[in-house]
């Protein structure tokens, strides 16, 4: 009772705490699910003057009753607002999403930032993320073959007119159309440029003047490979334009009921070209470690472990974060790390935009301190050209303090990593150097699995286990069967006793001989009759063996042997031959007794 009371006393607050924690968890989870969210998105980030772009404000969970009034946006005018609502039910959970689509028309070229919009929804303030939009001057659409410009045309959008060699920049190809089919991927002529990664094409709708078009946007990146005035474009696209055919003479009111008839006109659309001024990288103030990186980057360096012995590896992790050709970035050599043996680094790129121009590149390099006087890993230096600042920049971290202990053992000679002279900085983009010593390598051994001796050897433990198992089973069987155990013990004693008898007969030790003979008869009879050996007397024999299955001659012989033993107590002197002659008789009687059923 007392225990129960204590248990209840203990369990009560714990259960309450558990319930509170569980409720708290579910409340937090529910709150996280139900919290309203606001997302802002533009259907494209670069647009020419005179065209429209769609700004979507999407509310998750809860939404305001009416559309927001956007703040005044420079170079843009709001033309229309549309609202849509979407309700989804998944596993009984209902979520709603309300989207307000604002059609914005570009009035002047320039860079526009749509600020983060703060809205109060359901008593909570939600804020959208700011968005950047670049408005470029209106580009004249190249005339499509056969006067099809009113049905489909293409524009090449290049947000820059001046770039540096090696500086990546985004390029967009806009395909405007009303009704087309068999559209091929546009091909951009880009002599002097290298084209990079392409993004998945997107499709939206826009208005040019008073005409609405479908707009397909193809995005890619380009990098100038040489300086000078280079022409980018035109972009060409092969497709079939469907031109509506109007029949003025038809008076049938249902002629256009299933859509106006159209004529398929295969054509190749071409955009205009752009001339870019490609500047060479400045030849002055080039940092010594500059390896050709162009962009805008930040640097993070970590190293560990920092408490090591001479010869122990330290892993240096370098993260270069920013905008530029991340794939092409290489870890520069660090001449100030001469107290360290360096190994070639491994790298991984994580991009955050579909063109692969922003994100981070992570390097991991193993360095090994060569002496215990090293106190720090010198600062890592990374130089690049920043096109925005039009200058070279060098990033570095603080030296990382190290504790380097003397090594207890002689360090293993490490393979040299370069083909250069000793002391030269190690180029990381190379194979490991040749082995200068012929290591003692074992000659290729024959396959063990194909060697019969090895195959046979595997049977040894199995056989050993099976033998031990048999031994244990036998031991347990004997332990559980005392008669069997006695039978085995008696058989053993008889074998030893007969040997003893022969020895005693030869030695003419008559007294000992008859004592042994008597004992052997007692042992065998005792075992058969399940009596102690010492309890076997002539009277017992008379009583138990009469009427048994033992043949009468054998009974007589048994009596005779007992008689001989009794007589020998008074006249023990017998010759060796006389004693030896008794042994076969004894063996005969023992054989007969062994045939006798137990408990006879």
């Amino acid at each position: 009772m007392c225990f129960q009371r204590q248990k209840g006393k203990f369990a009560g607050p714990a259960a309450a705490r558990g319930l509170v924690a569980a409720f708290g968890f579910f409340w937090l989870a529910a709150a996280a699910v139900a919290a309203p969210g606001l997302t802002a998105a533009l259907d494209r980030n670069v647009m020419p003057v005179g065209e429209s772009v769609t700004l979507s404000l999407t509310f998750e969970g809860a939404a305001p009753d009416a559309a927001l009034t956007l703040p005044a946006l420079p170079n843009l005018s709001v033309q229309a607002v549309a609202q849509s609502k979407e309700v989804t039910i998944v596993n009984g959970q209902q979520t709603s999403r309300v989207t307000f689509n604002y059609t914005l028309v570009a009035t002047q070229p320039g860079d526009v930032v749509i600020p983060g919009l703060q809205v109060n929804v359901g008593g909570r303030a939600v804020v959208s993320q700011p968005l950047a939009l670049k408005i470029v001057p209106a580009a004249a659409a190249a005339n499509a073959a056969g006067g099809l410009a009113q049905y489909a045309f293409m524009k090449l959008i290049v947000p820059k007119t001046e770039v540096y060699v090696g500086e990546p920049f985004p390029v967009e190809i806009h395909l405007y159309f009303q009704s087309v089919r068999d559209v091929q991927m546009p091909q951009l002529k880009a002599a002097g440029f290298s084209l990079g990664q392409s993004a998945k094409p997107s499709q939206t709708q826009t208005q040019v003047g008073n005409v609405g078009y479908n707009l397909a946007v193809f995005k890619m990146s380009a990098t100038a490979a040489r300086a000078g005035n280079l022409t980018l474009g035109p972009a060409e696209c092969s497709l079939t334009v469907l031109v509506p055919v109007t029949n003025q003479r038809s008076r049938d009111p249902f002629a256009n009921f299933f859509g106006a008839p159209a004529q398929a006109r295969p054509t190749v659309l071409a955009s205009d070209s752009h001339v870019l001024r490609v500047l060479p990288l400045p030849a002055q103030n080039v940092p010594p470690g500059f390896s050709g990186a162009v962009g805008s980057y930040q640097l993070q360096v970590t190293a560990g472990p920092t408490n090591v012995a001479v010869g122990d590896p330290i892993t240096v992790k370098v993260q270069i974060i920013g905008n530029g050709l991340l794939d092409a970035l290489a870890l520069p050599a660090q001449p100030q790390w001469r107290e360290f043996k360096t190994y070639p680094p491994t790298s991984k790129v994580d991009t955050t935009d579909p063109l692969g121009l922003s994100g981070q590149k992570s390097f991991e390099q193993v360095v090994i301190p060569q002496n215990h006087e090293v106190q720090a890993l010198p600062s890592f230096q990374f130089s690049f050209f920043d096109p925005n600042q039009k200058a070279y920049r060098t990033l570095s971290n603080r030296p990382i303090a190290l504790t380097v202990r003397p090594s207890a053992t002689t360090p293993t000679p490490l393979p040299s990593l370069t083909n250069g002279a000793p002391g030269a900085p190690a180029p990381v983009d190379d194979i490991v150097h040749i082995h200068d010593r012929l290591a003692v390598s074992r000659p290729p051994a024959p396959l063990l699995a194909q060697q019969p001796w090895f195959f046979g050897l595997q049977g040894v433990p199995l056989l050993g286990w099976l033998a031990l198992r048999y031994w244990r089973k036998r031991t347990e069987a004997l332990a559980n069967n005392p008669r069997l155990r006695r039978q085995r013990q008696v058989a053993q004693r008889l074998r030893e006793g007969l040997v003893e008898l022969r020895r005693q007969a030869e030695a003419q030790q008559a007294e000992a001989f008859f004592a042994t003979l008597f004992r052997l008869l007692q042992e065998q009879l005792g075992e058969r009759l399940d009596l102690p050996a010492s309890a076997i007397t002539e009277a017992v024999i008379e009583e138990r063996l009469r009427g048994s299955h033992l043949p009468k001659p054998a009974v007589r012989e048994l009596h005779d042997l007992f008689q001989v033993c009794n007589l020998a107590r008074y006249a023990p002197h017998k010759s060796s031959q006389e004693l030896a002659a008794l042994i076969p008789r004894l063996e005969g009687v023992l054989r007969e007794l062994q045939q006798l059923p137990q408990d006879a």
């Binding site: 040749i434 010593r437 396959l447 063990l448 199995l462």
Partner: protein, 258 residues
Amino acid sequence: MRVTRPSSLVRWIFAVLAGGWAATCLAAIPPAAFDAANKLYEEGKFVDAAAAYQALLHSNAPSASLYFNLGNARYKAGQLGRAIAAYRSAERLAPRDPSVRFNLRFVRQKVTGSDAPVSVGWERWLRALTLNEWTLLASGALWGCCVLLGLGEVRPAWRRGLRNYVLLTSGAAVMLGAGLLLARRQAQAVSAVVVVRDAVVRYGPLAESQVFFQLRDGSEMTVLEQKEVSSTETWLKVQEAAGRSGWVKRDQVAVLNY
């Protein structure tokens, strides 16, 4: 009379055996010839160095260092396919040598243009051990399991405590045995590496057969079948990584015979 103690005698026997084994291995390749080949490499005579390493391989027992240096010389000479073949031979002899693995990955990256491994993870895992190492591990697990079972028979009171160890070793024996079978199957697969600039793979084993596709220098493939058209012309049916299979002339690839 001086009597040698048994422990000293055992040490002496081991020293003699180890010394004899090392001497046999070292004597297999003359160090001077190896140094001469290395000198050619250091002088930038990569083609000559490769020929010297190749000659040493023809006349002596195979060595991981020799194959490794041959791979380096081939790579420096611009022979990516032959370099990969040499590194793979070195990898077979020393599967966990970091230098070999690094250089093989490096040259493969040059061929494929990406850092993605050529083979899947479990295949690389199988190659981390030699067949004999797989065999010895599986055998060790089997012996361990049987010893524990035998101990349980001798000392029945310990049987309960030993049960988890028996399960562990028997599971290990099964897993390692399966690993051995897979590793052996993998080792028995004949591979080939393209050693010409562009190997032409055709639909049939004839020069007149239609071209199916082409493989670059260093591309690795599995050999499915061999056909001798004449005494001087042999064709191999190969399957590349993407699963396409066709016939290629034997002299356009290096076959890795294990």
